[in-house]
């Protein structure tokens, strides 16, 4: 068995392709590319494809990962080349590698928030949002809704740039199996706080996924 980890980007209108739709898109692209993918056993065999960290609907990304099981000896370069010919334009495979790190070790991700506010934004107001001790928010889970302090999920804010009604923020927020948080909640709460911006006018882009090896936080690969 040869498992391959593909790094890909999902840009433009591709951000509106949901997680489930993305899986279907890959399945069919692999079919079209006639790549030697492996199938699960059982009543309803399906291609062995696993995404490392789902991306929230409406978010673009330059670093997504998908693991695909191919037959032994499948050439990496061939996979990248053929898949790119068979994927829709907004999804592009960047590189292929052998997976080293486990997806369950993912702890956080960096996002860029590009906000176009209704009017000029006061940058002190933006800074004070991230300086708050407690940012009450509601997290929706499969089991229902949960009250949380959003602040605990925002690990760092690396950049705040305000230029008139344009605001750019770079932040690392919690991600992964245990404490996943949708970046949209951060955008929503921030808009609510500064008052003159709306969540639908925020573009969110994922730049990096991080994992922990138990001691250090490193780039997922």
């Amino acid at each position: 068995m040869s498992k391959m980890r593909l790094k890909f980007s999902k840009l433009g209108m591709g951000k509106y392709i949901s997680h489930l739709d993305l899986l279907r898109t890959f399945t069919r692209a692999i079919h079209r590319a006639e790549l030697p993918v492996r199938y699960s056993q059982g009543f309803n065999p399906h291609q062995l494809i696993t995404f490392s960290l789902p991306l929230a609907l409406g978010t673009t990304s330059e670093t997504e990962f998908v693991d695909i099981d191919f037959e032994d000896g499948t050439d990496k370069i061939e996979v990248v080349k053929k898949l790119n010919m068979c994927l829709p334009p907004d999804i592009k495979i960047l590189e292929a590698s052998v997976p080293v790190v486990k997806a369950k070790d993912i702890v956080s991700a960096e996002y860029i928030f590009d906000i176009t506010a209704d009017s000029e934004v006061n940058d002190e107001r933006v800074k004070s949002f991230f300086a708050e001790e407690n940012i009450p928010a509601v997290k929706k889970t499969k089991r229902g809704e949960k009250e949380i302090n959003l602040k605990e999920f925002i690990y760092s804010v690396d950049e705040i740039a305000v230029n008139g009604e344009k605001v750019t923020i770079k932040a690392v927020i919690s991600a992964g199996g245990e404490n996943n948080i949708k970046p949209g909640i951060v955008a929503e709460k921030l808009c609510e706080f500064i008052g003159n911006a709306r969540p639908e006018n925020v573009e969110i882009h994922r730049t990096t996924i991080f994992y922990s090896d138990g001691k250090k936080i490193k780039n997922f690969c």
């Binding site: 433009g12 209108m13 591709g14 509106y16 392709i17 949901s18 489930l20 739709d21 993305l22 279907r24 898109t25 399945t27 069919r28 692209a29 692999i30 079919h31 079209r32 590319a33 199938y39 065999p45 609907l57 409406g58 068979c86 994927l87 829709p88 334009p89 907004d90 176009t116 709306r198 969540p199 639908e200 006018n201």
Partner: protein, 615 residues
Amino acid sequence: MNYKTKFEACLKKVQKPARYIGNEFNSVHKEKTEEMVSFAFCFPDVYEVGMSHLGMKILYHMLNDREDTVCERVFAPWVDMEEELRNAQLPLLSLESHTPISEFDIVGFTLQYEMSFSNIINMLDLAGIPLRTKDRGGDDAFVCAGGPCAYNGEPLADVIDFFILGEGEEVNNEIIDAYKEWKNAKESRIEFLHKIAKIEGVYVPQFYDVVYNDDNTVKSIKPNRDGVPEKIKKRIVKELDSAYILDKMIVPFMDIVHDRMTLEIFRGCIRGCRFCQAGYLYRPVREHSVEKLVDTAKKMIDSTGYEEMSLSSLSTSDYTCLHELIDELLKITVDKRINLSLPSLRVDNFSMELMEKVQTVKKSGLTFAPEAGTQRLRDVINKNVLEEDLLRTSRIAFEGGYNRIKLYFMIGLPTETEEDVVGIANLAQKVVDVFYSIPKEIRKGRQLTVTVSTSSFVPKPFTPFQWEPQNRIDTLIEKQKLLKENIKTKSISYNWHQSHVSFLEAVFAKGDRRLCDVLIAAQKKGCRFDGWDEHFAYDKWLEAFSDCNIDPEFYAYRKIDHSEVLPWEHIDIGVSKAHLIKEHELAYSEVTTPSCRDNCSGCGAAGFGGGVCFE
């Protein structure tokens, strides 16, 4: 903020934004230049319904294969998106380039069912295109429509600039050519319409005057200018193999209703069921050859990556070389893990062999359509299916491991009695009995599910039953109740269609031009997505009829005399009125008519010079 940014903001607020993004694999994106003709292909329903329609896919790729034409898709935005678009004051946009529809040269709708008419009005309204032909001018787009409901498009006569009757493979190209000539010549709007009215299959309603009698029936329909035909004849493709063949399909991101490859094996139907409009409209039967189909299937598999292929026609098992075709197709599908599905099978020529072949890939439920509960009524409607056929087929299926079966029926058919309605329950019960008569070791599972579905009969133009009245809503409801009471076992589940929708379907199917006002009034009241139970607003429709002083019952509940001038009298589908009258009379004598292959009944379709008539 420009409109694209505004549009994006809308997308963030709606459910299933993938409906509106385009960019799917195999979608065509072209840069439009001044010399090119732009065609907005509109499907008056939501994306996942429209994208499941084969005709649209054929014409979309055919038009885009022309270098001088750009064809983009447009679907009805779902109600949440409509609200966002209206709030943002955005017009209706095309899927590919997100261009306002009003900027296209030709806006074409496909009319698949009557209950989508209000969506057409709503889409034009959203697009900012004047609703009525008479209010369009200057740079306004030409609005056209085709598809099965275009054959009686009279309820949209004030809205549609021209209808295209029949199959679009040839005629659409002729229209594009004519448009280019007209544009270069810089002639008036009316001159374009006059030019294309001479193309066979094109119907320009404003060139015909309709005069009514005092009793509201039609007195006459006559051309009001020179050079347009008295009768407009439908167009067909004489030889399917030599026409444009679709060998690629757009692969949507989201789950659509028919998310699979569709291989069209033939057009038309040899059977002549007397209620079935498609059976008459698509005459004569024309088949694709096995070689062409296999070749097309290969190309389609390579270009889509789909994991399922479905054969498409009005009656799959009537394809002359079905076994050969399936054998050839299985050779290319099995290794690629592609499921082959065969819808529209008939119970009278269903075999174990056929079933086993399809089984090699996947076993899904079976669906049969006996349509009526008693042999007498099946003879009336010319559904040449015997009870023995259904029971024999059910046995084969159950012994082969099936334990789910769906049966489709109609209620409200001409001459129907209580006995016929109860007959549906009895027939379903006999199917159940067959299952339990098979030893447990052979049949699969202990439980059988028989799903009985009834739709309400809607008399349709161009069928022998076009003169028939529909059952009143309360009668239909009583019949549904009667049937329900006569189902005695839990193995049978029963579901039925809303009779109110069927009533309006009958009104618009057999309607005339005076209904245009009603459609426009209903859209103003908020009617749209009438085919969707949750959006169908019967009260608003009744208000619209009453505001326009029109009695809908006049259209649905009246027994029409053979001598009456019908609102679609000027449309010629190639089947003679004399044949329809003869079939109507045979129905009342409970006499069946053999299939086209058994014995030609001289319907008139031979006039097209091709297909089954010359086999």
